[in-house]
């Protein structure tokens, strides 16, 4: 196949992966907080929506669901304050 086509296909697969990861994370959060629908995707910690207990539980769930290990140094606001950042963290850890 032509290299452009391969690139396009790879990007599409990555996008699909991203979407899947996002959906799973939203489900984890909904289960964690016992809510039917996650209303916010940003400011998860800075708004007080997630507290330290939630963060520990979230880290646990992510490690189990995605088979990754999260280092303490990664538990920072930048990586956990919004859904997209969490997705990016997981992608990085999986690669």
């Amino acid at each position: 196949m032509k290299s452009e086509k391969i690139e396009r296909m790879t990007t599409e697969i990555t996008k699909k992966d991203k979407e899947e990861i996002k959906v799973q994370i939203i489900e984890i959060l909904q289960q964690l907080k016992q809510i039917q629908k996650l209303e916010q995707e940003t400011d998860l910690i800075s708004s007080g929506f997630l507290d330290s207990f939630d963060v520990i539980s979230l880290v646990d769930s992510i490690e189990k669901t995605f088979q990754v290990t999260i280092d303490g140094a990664d538990v920072i606001l930048d990586n956990f304050d919004n859904i997209d950042a969490i997705v990016a963290l997981i992608e990085r850890l999986k690669s």
Binding site: S52, V55, V75
Partner: protein, 528 residues
């Protein structure tokens, strides 16, 4: 001879006026600066109709303003009552109604909630002046009884002459009440002094130390932090609340500020260990680590001790009613058996503890009994609650003729052969969660106050890493769990809101008709 708790601070001010007393984020204040401002604050209080032994509440974000409030209030011969900005207004109103503070100190972030705190109070004609420890901003209301920093700074900076003595109250801290209403534990100057003298000398805390203040100001771990710092002339570093979520940030905080002493509840230490932010070369200045308020799970303690063989680890235990701690245990060796809890230890030197069995006899080795505490750090009782006070501060069963009162803790303990006590549970429904003391009854009372609740059973599932409070409910009308949690959160603080709520058609009952919590517990664990 020291009589009043603030005298520790005054003595250190004389010795080290230019030394940094307190740090919070980028703000620092020296002993002398803190001294002058708090003299001004106390003079302002005295000018505003404050009488000796009045209660004065402070409702501020944890910061240097908290320390300013405490010292200013003590210097005016009054007693401080911290109001937690994270507590729902309903709960704070109960506290205000109970202790009737003659003034409320606020700050820029809490000022907007003041009207909420004062509305619908069960007190007639109650209009306490409000002091805001920030400069007046143009958008501020023109309330005539709001006083800003500029006004305080006009006052004389001479220390008012105190009339109080060791039996007068220094603070009232409100703790969870089993019937839904918080109880105010009274602590005197004498109580604080006997505790602080012991702690500083036992652990050799000096002016070269740098202490953390991790606990909130309405939690008496802060009593250790504040008064040990002031007695020694050391520096206090207030840990910003947000750091609790980020274990890496806590380690950086300790390193950046070169802390030598850390005291906190174990959950934060567990979090740091679990998240792999500890390594042997980190936090080199930290000498002593105190864990208190809850059992420190042995596997995580061992992790810490193996990484830091040269640091001193101390486990302490004590209810608010005995002024911070009543027993302590220096962990000399790394525990071999991970399944055994570390002991509570032996009585702090200024106190006496003993355990009595059901026939009021002192327990023998291996026997489990209820812990009693005796000595100068025992509180005189609960504010405005002679009934509850009489139930728990009782005539010493061992020497009733001495007319001496001891505190009946409700804690079940076992005496070991080496003289150390082991914690064996509670006589009642009080639990420790994230370091907080919680009466499950208070949570149930809050739930039952919601009109749509039919039955409720609140249980506690303890675990080394992730304990949780769980509520089983049956309801009269459709409600989402999210909504129920929100509703509960308007009555009790966030940490008391059950993590997991399970709705059933009806709850299991015991033969006496009570909600069967044993069944609920096994049901929950099975389900997990």
């Amino acid at each position: 001879m020291i009589k009043l708790a603030q005298e520790y601070f005054l003595q250190s001010t004389k010795l080290y006026p230019l030394k940094r007393a307190v740090n919070f984020q980028t703000e620092n204040i020296t002993y002398e600066e803190l001294n002058l401002f708090t003299n001004q604050l106390s003079n302002f209080l005295l000018k505003n109709n404050v009488k000796r032994n009045d209660r004065i509440a402070f409702y501020v974000e944890k910061s240097i303003n908290s320390i300013k409030s405490i010292l200013g209030i003590l210097k005016a011969d009054c007693c401080y009552v911290p109001l937690d900005p994270k507590s729902p207004p309903v709960r704070l109103r109960q506290i205000i109604e109970d202790c009737l503070p003659s003034i409320i100190i606020a700050d820029n972030s809490t000022i907007k909630n003041i009207p909420l705190l004062l509305q619908d109070l069960n007190i007639s004609d109650y209009h306490p002046p409000i002091i805001i420890l920030n400069k007046k901003e143009i958008k501020e209301t023109n309330e005539t009884d709001y006083h800003f920093q500029e006004e305080i700074e006009q006052e004389s900076s001479l220390l008012p002459i105190p009339k109080n003595g060791s039996k007068d109250l220094a603070y009232i801290f409100y703790t969870s009440g089993s019937t839904g209403k918080p109880k105010g534990v009274m602590i005197t100057h004498g109580n604080i002094i006997s505790f602080t003298n012991w702690a500083v000398s036992r652990f050799n805390i000096t002016e070269n130390d740098k202490l953390s203040n991790h606990a909130p100001m309405h939690f008496d771990l802060s009593t250790f932090d504040i008064y040990c710092t002031f007695k020694s002339g050391a520096t206090l570093f207030i840990v910003p609340y947000e750091l609790n979520l980020f274990p890496e940030k806590i380690v950086q905080f300790i390193e950046k500020n070169e802390l030598t002493i850390w005291l906190s509840v174990p959950s934060i230490l567990v979090y740091m260990a679990r998240m792999n932010v500890l390594s042997p070369q980190r936090m080199p200045t930290l000498k002593m680590i105190f864990s208190t308020g809850e059992v420190f799970p042995t596997p995580f303690l061992v992790q810490w001790m193996q990484l830091y063989p040269h640091k001193k680890f101390i486990n302490m235990f004590g209810p608010t009613e005995t002024t911070v701690e009543c027993t302590y245990y220096i962990i000399d060796e790394i525990p071999q058996d991970l399944s055994k809890n570390i002991p509570m230890g032996k009585a702090c030197d200024h106190l006496e503890v003993f355990a009595l069995n059901d026939t009021n006899q002192k327990t023998t080795v291996g026997e489990v009994g209820e812990l009693y505490v005796r000595g100068p750090a025992v509180s005189p009782g609960y504010w405005n609650n002679p009934e509850k006070t009489a139930q728990t501060f009782v005539l010493n069963p061992l020497f009733p003729h001495l007319n001496d009162y001891v505190y009946k803790t409700g804690d079940l303990v076992e005496l070991k052969e080496d003289g150390n006590y082991l914690f064996r549970g509670r006589k009642d429904n009080q639990i420790k969660f994230m370091g907080y003391r919680i009466e499950l009854g208070e949570i149930e009372a809050a739930i039952y106050s919601l009109k749509y609740i039919k039955e409720a059973g609140v249980i506690f599932i303890p675990a080394d890493e992730k304990s949780e409070i769980v509520a089983y409910l049956s309801i009269k009308e459709e409600k989402t769990i999210e909504q129920i949690k929100k509703d509960i959160g308007t009555i009790v603080p966030k940490y008391m809101v059950p993590r997991t709520i399970i709705i059933e058609k009806e709850l299991p009952r015991t033969s006496t008709g009570k909600v069967d919590k044993v069944t609920l517990k096994s049901k929950f664990l099975e389900h997990k």
